[in-house]
């Protein structure tokens, strides 16, 4: 498995921490699945220090922390949020989101490249939430990114991999770069498909958190990413249009 800024992930599942029915179910989903990376965010601290209790629970999970800049729409907002996240979470990792379109939450890739350049110069290790556009990907790498995270489908949509052609092309073009399908996963089969293509990890949240049984779904997702990765490493056969008998024809008894 490729390293992410010099770090080996324990497995290919990155799991979000939002939208679970309760903190206890969130914790169980992580423990039962073994997901090794947790995405987190920063929000205004409420009365009573609600953020501190959340942080204690996440810290006890002993997983890698990937803070995001979710909800940021400008370069300045994203860069400022990243600096605040670094101070609070004590990591150089930042999942860089710069949202460009309200309905689809499609990234503003122009602002994304600019923010990635600034943050890399500031010493961050940037995980950019991007599209499958190859030229944007090149620009992000030039800006200093060592990981790319193309979307599968709009955040929270559960549509799976909207553009398998584009994702395959990206995998082929950037064979040495750690690639993560981030967002849009709805089912374990979607996660497995991304891994079968040779993606290095999958980042998802809603598909687990909003499932009827998040703990079971988290485990299903872990099974799927591991199966998909093994399948990719096992060099799958090419699909073909016509049948090809698997049982040998030679030696068949003459019975008609």
């Amino acid at each position: 498995m490729k390293q992410f800024y010099g770090v080996d992930l324990p497995n290919p599942l990155m799991l979000g921490t939002a939208q679970y029915p309760s903190p206890a179910i969130l914790e169980q989903a992580f423990r039962a699945s073994g997901a090794g990376v947790a995405t987190v965010s920063l929000r205004r601290e409420g009365a009573g220090g609600t953020g501190q209790a959340f942080w204690q629970m996440i810290a006890d999970l002993d997983v890698l922390i990937l803070p995001n800049t979710a909800g940021c729409h400008t370069v300045k907002e994203a860069v400022t949020t990243a600096h605040m996240a670094q101070e609070v979470f004590g990591t150089k990792w930042i999942k860089l989101e710069v949202i460009g379109h309200t309905d689809s939450l499609q990234p503003d890739v122009f602002a994304l490249v600019e923010a990635a350049r600034i943050l890399t110069e500031d010493g961050f290790e940037v995980f950019p939430y991007t599209t499958e556009d190859l030229i944007v990907a090149e620009r992000l790498l030039e800006a200093g990114c060592e990981v790319l995270m193309p979307w599968g489908a709009p955040i929270g949509s559960g549509r799976g991999l909207n553009n398998t052609y584009g994702l395959r092309a990206m995998r082929a073009e950037f064979s040495d770069i750690p690639l993560v399908v981030d967002a849009g996963i709805g089912l374990p089969s979607h996660a497995a498909a991304a891994m079968e293509m040779g993606y290095d990890a999958v980042l998802l949240n809603t598909a687990v958190a909003r499932a009827g049984d998040p703990v079971a779904m988290a485990q299903a997702m872990m099974g799927a990413v591991n199966a998909g990765r093994m399948a990719h490493q096992a060099d799958p056969i090419e699909a073909r249009d016509m049948a090809e008998a698997s049982t040998p024809v030679i030696g068949k008894a003459f019975l008609s």
């Binding site: 979000g16 987190v40 205004r44 609600t50």
Partner: protein, 64 residues
Amino acid sequence: MKIVLNGEQREVAATTLAELLPECGFSGRVATAVNEDFVPAGLRAGHALTDGDRVEVVAPMQGG
């Protein structure tokens, strides 16, 4: 003085950002910004507040 703290008008006695946090009940892992600019923890004591400042105090929260 009057400031805007996390979007709400507040009358506070604190004169620096460092004094503001305990006065308003914040502790633990928080990050601060004043007038949309990040103020690192180490600079809070030297960051004087002025009337009308917009202060943001953020903490760890669930995210995807």
